[in-house]
């Protein structure tokens, strides 16, 4: 963390929806003043984004993009516990035109398409009309950790804070679909929010799930996040929660559920968010000719949170370390620690299991044998026996990175 002179993004108040036409922009001289930045130590371009506290219901966040907002959770937050505080839960929007003003009396959730009966549910209907369920689940952008891609790739330059964990409260999507009555022949369910593209011709942000997934016991329409209503920027008042799957499916400000009897051809489902259909979705830079498939589930990951890269530790005396892990689309089976750059591994002690899709804390004790540089690594194995890979995952869009994390320390 350091103070630097950087061109400050001057934030102004949102005037109205659909503002930001070119006519609405003004050329003003930019005052130079010191702003707090976070140095992510990444080669190949800027890696010192500024810290912001300017967003409503949000605390200290890393500003990846002002509008539509990309706000990253500062990594030190993950050392404080497995549930990310709502005011530091990361934020990511595709289109800038979403309302800052949401009236809970007039808000409606529609269910339509290949159903027996269309529904228009008020928030009271949604909160009171169905059994409630709760689930802890990590909300992770498919492009989390993209800044570490080598060679670098375009897109949101998340470090490791394009993820957050919350205890979600809501109602089962299945129960809502059953109320409408899904007709025979339904194959997908498509979700849309109240956000709209700025350019009318641009593809509205929509995402679909296969019908069987949509009707499992876990996909949820959430109205609660860690016991409170959702922050606006995390999708107030309703958000789809798809436990174990990437956040692109977790449609915010959910307003429309459409049951389809034909494959969804919209851009976001049929074309966007693609990874190579290869083991670990990885290819060599410049490689061509591979098939592309949609991003779907999360992969296992683990992080050291208590020790940061470059820290000093005493040589020859016991030290303790802790961190977080998640299994992806299933639970954490084990987390192993290496203090010799991956040559040997020791098991760590797992903390309480607060839900298989959530973060799980781990801790370990170790002793660095001699003075000098040491390389710590941490590796999660999930309950499907899938292990984080040691090789560097790379694909053209920078999705699904889950290579074993490395932390360099100095023993003194």
């Amino acid at each position: 963390m350091q103070d630097q002179d950087v061109p400050p993004p001057r934030l102004t108040r949102r005037a109205a929806l659909g503002r930001l036409g070119v006519a609405g922009l003004s050329l003003m001289s930019s005052p130079a003043f010191a702003q707090q930045t976070v140095d992510l130590h990444v080669p190949g371009g800027p890696s010192s984004p500024v810290i912001t506290t300017s967003y409503p219901q949000k605390g200290r966040m890393i500003l990846q993009r002002s509008s539509p907002p990309w706000l990253e959770t500062p990594f030190e937050v993950f050392d404080k516990g497995v549930f990310t505080p709502n005011d530091q839960h990361y934020v990511s929007w595709h289109w800038a035109t979403f309302p800052g003003d949401v009236n809970v009396d007039s808000y409606r959730l529609s269910v339509r398409g290949h159903v027996n009966q269309n529904l228009s549910l008020s928030l009271t209907d949604t909160l009171q009309g169905f059994p409630r369920v709760e689930i802890a689940a990590v909300n992770q952008c498919a492009g989390n950790s993209r800044i570490y891609a080598q060679p670098r790739v375009a897109g949101a330059q998340w470090a490791n804070g394009g993820m957050s964990n919350a205890l979600w409260t809501g109602v089962r999507l299945r129960d809502v679909l059953d109320r409408a009555g899904v007709r025979a022949g339904a194959i997908q369910v498509r979700f849309g929010g109240v956000d709209e593209p700025v350019i009318p011709e641009a593809p509205k942000f929509l995402k679909s799930l296969p019908i069987d997934h949509a009707r499992d016991d876990e996909v949820m329409i959430a109205f609660g996040m860690n016991g409170e209503q959702l922050p606006l920027l995390n999708g107030f008042p309703l958000r789809l929660v798809v436990p174990g799957w990437c956040a692109v499916y977790w449609v915010k400000m959910l307003a429309d559920i459409e049951v389809l009897d034909q494959p969804d051809t919209n851009y976001w489902t049929a074309t966007g968010y693609r990874v190579p259909d290869t083991p670990h979705n990885t290819v060599k830079p410049g490689e061509a000719g591979f098939k592309l498939v949609p991003v779907t589930r999360n992969a296992p990951r683990s992080f050291i949170t208590k020790i940061r890269d470059g820290d000093s530790l005493p040589a020859g005396s016991p030290a303790s370390v802790r961190g977080i892990a998640f299994g992806g689309d299933c639970g954490v089976a084990r987390v192993d620690l290496s203090i010799d750059d991956g040559s040997s591994w020791q098991p760590t002690q797992l903390g309480a299991d607060q839900g298989k899709y959530g973060f799980r804390q781990w801790q370990a004790q170790f002793t660095l044998p001699a003075r000098g540089l040491h390389t710590l690594k941490v590796r999660c194995t999930n309950t499907s026996n899938e292990v984080q890979p040691a090789f560097w995952i790379w694909n053209p869009a920078g999705y699904m990175f889950n290579t074993i994390e490395t932390t360099h320390v100095v023993a003194t």
Binding site: P9, R14, S26, A96, L127, R152, L167, Q229, L232, A352
Partner: protein, 110 residues
């Protein structure tokens, strides 16, 4: 201390309600009326900056671009083409060329 107690609580099957609070407490939602900041920052002036300001800022703020890594001209061309074909940005061919030139000049790899 706390960490030692947590597994015991889980083993006893008791609800973990230290944090978050009990979710049943949500009985109704409250309307929100909030100001979401936007940025009016423009691109650093130079050849092509008018094309950048006139085409790119309609959908996203300048820091989106300024935070991107250094990329090859081919990679920038691909990004600009994606904005036009996938996201339907109405960019004229002349402006598209000026934008790619600006990006390759200010955020290029060579």
């Amino acid at each position: 201390m706390l960490r030692a107690i947590l597994p015991m609580i889980a083993a006893l099957g008791l609800a973990l309600s230290l944090y978050p609070v009990e979710a049943a407490s949500i009985t109704a939602l409250k309307s929100l009326k909030l100001d979401v900041p936007i940025s009016d920052a423009m691109f650093p002036p130079g050849p092509g900056s008018d094309a950048m300001n006139n085409n790119c800022l309609a959908c996203h703020s300048a820091d989106h671009v300024l935070n991107q890594p250094s990329l090859s001209r081919e990679a920038w061309l691909e990004v600009v083409n994606k904005m036009i074909t996938a996201y339907r940005a109405p960019v004229s061919p002349e402006d598209a060329k000026a934008i790619v030139d600006y990006l390759a000049r200010t955020k290029g790899t060579s």
